[in-house]
């Protein structure tokens, strides 16, 4: 019993050195690791699906008169990759990058700037140009209909219904 504590020396000796040499060597990360996300600006349509799914609001849509900006703030990201699951055009890709330390707060942002279209009827700014094209490609609505803002669509529908029953039954916002 009394010599038992000394066995620790044997354990320590048999283990040898375990310390990794990082940062002088590659870090020990598995292929499964979830790191920073990368947004492909060539694919992103600015629909905001990722913004809705993001639990900590690390992805945000900032809207101004002419532009819609998708802002990714890695300083608040929890690396859950829910945005990757929900992106309809696979514009978001996961990486294994975790070396994100910086001394400037602004370094932590990634911005994707989208231009906005205006409503054909009332001239108010609404969805992004890419989004409009995406909708026209993927859904059966006509291009004219896709370029009208939801408010005007509602108004048009109400007018049409009150004038006479016309079939715009597939209408959705």
């Amino acid at each position: 019993m009394s010599h038992k504590p000394l066995k620790l020396i044997i354990i320590a000796g048999s283990k040898g050195r375990v310390t990794v040499k990082y940062p002088y060597q590659e870090p020990l990360i598995t292929p499964e690791f979830r790191g920073e996300i990368e947004i492909d600006p060539a694919k992103c349509i600015g629909c905001g699906a990722c913004v809705k799914a993001c639990p900590p609001n690390a992805l945000e849509l900032l809207e101004s008169e002419k532009e819609v900006i998708l802002r990714y703030f890695v300083g608040r990201c929890i690396f859950c990759w829910r945005c990757i699951d929900v992106c309809p055009v696979n514009a978001i890709k996961g990486t294994r990058n975790f070396e994100l330390a910086t001394d400037k707060h602004t370094d932590l942002y990634t911005l994707v700037v989208h231009t906005r279209t205006t409503c054909e009827i009332c001239g108010k700014p609404f969805e992004t140009t890419r989004m409009q094209r995406y909708i026209a490609e993927k859904s059966p609505v006509t291009e004219e209909y896709a370029s009208i803002c939801p408010d005007c669509r509602k108004r048009l529908l109400a007018e049409a219904v009150s004038a006479r029953r016309v079939g715009i039954s597939e209408h959705k916002e």
């Binding site: 375990v18 310390t19 990794v20 990082y22 940062p23 870090p27 020990l28 990360i29 920073e36 947004i39 600006p41 060539a42 992103c44 600015g46 639990p55 900590p56 609001n57 690390a58 703030f73 890695v74 300083g75 608040r76 990201c77 929890i78 690396f79 990058n97 975790f98 070396e99 994100l100 330390a101 910086t102 001394d103 707060h105 602004t106 370094d107 932590l108 942002y109 990634t110 911005l111 994707v112 700037v113 989208h114 231009t115 140009t129 890419r130």
Partner: protein, 159 residues
Amino acid sequence: MSIKSSILKRSIWVFHLNTGSCNACDIEILDALTPFHDAERFGVKLVVSPRHADAMLLTGPVTAEALPKVINAIEAMPRPRMIIALGSCGCGGGIWHDTYSTIGGVNKLLEILKERGIVVDAVYYVPGCPIRPEALLYAVALIKGIVSKKREMKIYKAE
């Protein structure tokens, strides 16, 4: 810059300040100090009083209840003082950045410190949720100039 470089020459002694984090970053800090990653290779030592510290490892979103104590602890640090904000809570308030009982991360804290005339000489941000021990080692290596900065602001124009 001169103040900062005077920190860089020395071994960085750190004080661990948990301002209401979930513990994940805190156990990873401990992990960075244990045999596998061994941050003491770079002279990083965890000290028990802010008065001995060069840098503050700040984890958590700074809760309303912890705020006065956090300010006291930072004020107790000698100049030049450095804050290393760890994890998504420290850097940006994390998942609870806008709830009623947090103040939302280090930037708001810096504003409050400035109002009270407490100078912070340098701030580093280490994102991660939680940070990997390697991410902390990388930050230390960055402060000491062993590695170069990889992350910078990116602005893309998508028509």
